[in-house]
């Protein structure tokens, strides 16, 4: 009671690594909403009791009023916890779109499992908006901000990537552990997803 479930929900969120998502805790989420309903119910019954005693519900300050007040405050507290949970998760989802890739299927499967269907929907809509903006402006905004010294870099492939990838200047097959000399802008999204690593020597 009294904001406990909302607090537990947020503790669960904060217990993950900073900036990382945990799977959506629907159990605690629903329990928090249930606690809100309990508070609402008790508040209503106290206010009805005041009305039955012919007291002005808005202005009189008796014991029932303070009881109803505490229930109201607990409800608002749980609401705040629920909103903060969803808001902070949405922030991480937006971050994913910027830093990893704009396609939902490009995200590693362990990340995709942690998102609810609504969050996936949010990700898709956010990507669509970003793409249309970048198209209108004519610049790709999600690339590295620092101009590189050399337009080409050496990379090693870490994961299995589909065959026949079309890059801006050639078509290659990426075999695992092979090394390639690629254009920086082509390699960037793969490196961000952890499928390649840059070699500096």
């Amino acid at each position: 009671m009294y904001g406990r479930k909302g607090y537990q929900l947020l503790k669960d969120f904060a217990s993950g690594e900073k900036g990382q998502l945990k799977p959506f805790n629907s159990k605690l989420f629903d329990e928090t909403i249930e606690e809100c309903d309990q508070n609402h119910h008790l508040m209503q019954s106290l206010m009805r009791k005041m009305q039955q005693e012919d007291l002005d519900v808005q202005n009189s300050r008796n014991a029932d009023h303070y009881g109803a007040l505490i229930h109201h405050l607990s409800l608002m507290r749980n609401k705040r916890c629920l909103m903060a949970y969803v808001y902070n998760r949405a922030e991480i989802v937006r971050d994913l779109a910027w830093r990893v890739g704009l396609e939902l299927l490009d995200l590693p499967s362990e990340i995709q499992e942690k998102l609810t269907s609504l969050e996936k929907e949010y990700f898709k809509n956010h990507s669509v908006t970003l793409k249309s903006y970048m198209g209108k402006v004519g610049i790709e905004l999600n690339v590295d901000m620092v101009p590189p010294k050399d337009p080409y870099i050496k990379v090693r492939i870490l994961d299995d990537i589909d065959e026949g990838i079309v890059l801006s200047d050639k078509t290659t097959n990426f075999a695992r552990h092979s090394m390639h000399f690629l254009k920086r802008t082509d390699a960037e999204p793969y490196i961000a997803r952890g499928q390649m690593e840059e070699l500096t020597d």
Binding site: G67, R77, E197
Partner: protein
């Protein structure tokens, strides 16, 4: 209201404070020692800060200083502030103290917070540069959440600097994806 969605702000406000009820409140079970379903006038109860704050605004309760700011802590801070285990007292020592400061009658709380912070901050920054991360782990367990954030920020900036000096890789796997699991095959 920019802190409405801030997780740390919400967690700080969950810390318990002792309050004294001036008005009776019916139909609530926040007082575990009460036999009836209410909080009696004149009863002393521990409630979360968010509740105490709102009730004090409406003059239903008065807030007393919680145990983490008591005389024992003050003496320890006076003796050697850098190594006092503030996290076990309260993981959000400074934020909590800042929120309490305008609401309690104790005028020395602000001075306690600022002196403790000044000494500990300096110690934390020195530790970042002089101690290896492993040996500093015991020290880190004494730090409050705010101090740990500062320590980690300093650590990140010093590693970034070292990396830049040795011309490390600029493009990296996105940190948001978490630590890489070692492949078994």
């Amino acid at each position: 209201m920019s802190k409405y969605y801030d997780i740390d702000d919400i967690l700080v406000e969950e810390e318990y404070v002792p309050v004294l009820f001036h008005k009776r409140a019916n139909g609530v079970t926040i007082d575990p020692s009460a036999e009836t379903n209410c909080a009696e006038q004149g009863s002393k109860v521990e409630v979360p800060f968010w509740l105490a704050h709102e009730l004090q605004l409406r003059q239903a309760v008065s807030i007393n200083l919680p145990a983490c700011f008591d005389q024992k802590t003050r003496l320890e801070v006076q003796a050697d502030a850098a190594y006092v285990d503030l996290r076990s007292r309260c993981p959000y020592f400074y934020e909590f103290g800042c929120k309490l400061e305008p609401l309690v009658t104790d005028r020395t709380l602000g001075i306690l917070l600022s002196t403790a912070f000044k000494i500990r901050y300096k110690e934390a920054l020195t530790k970042v540069y002089t101690a290896a991360h492993i040996t500093a782990s015991k020290y880190l367990s004494f730090l409050t959440k705010e101090e740990t954030n500062l320590y980690e920020a300093a650590h990140l900036s010093s590693t970034a600097f070292k990396k830049w000096k040795t011309c490390g890789r600029r493009l990296e796997r996105a940190s948001i994806l978490g630590r890489k699991r070692k492949d078994s095959n």
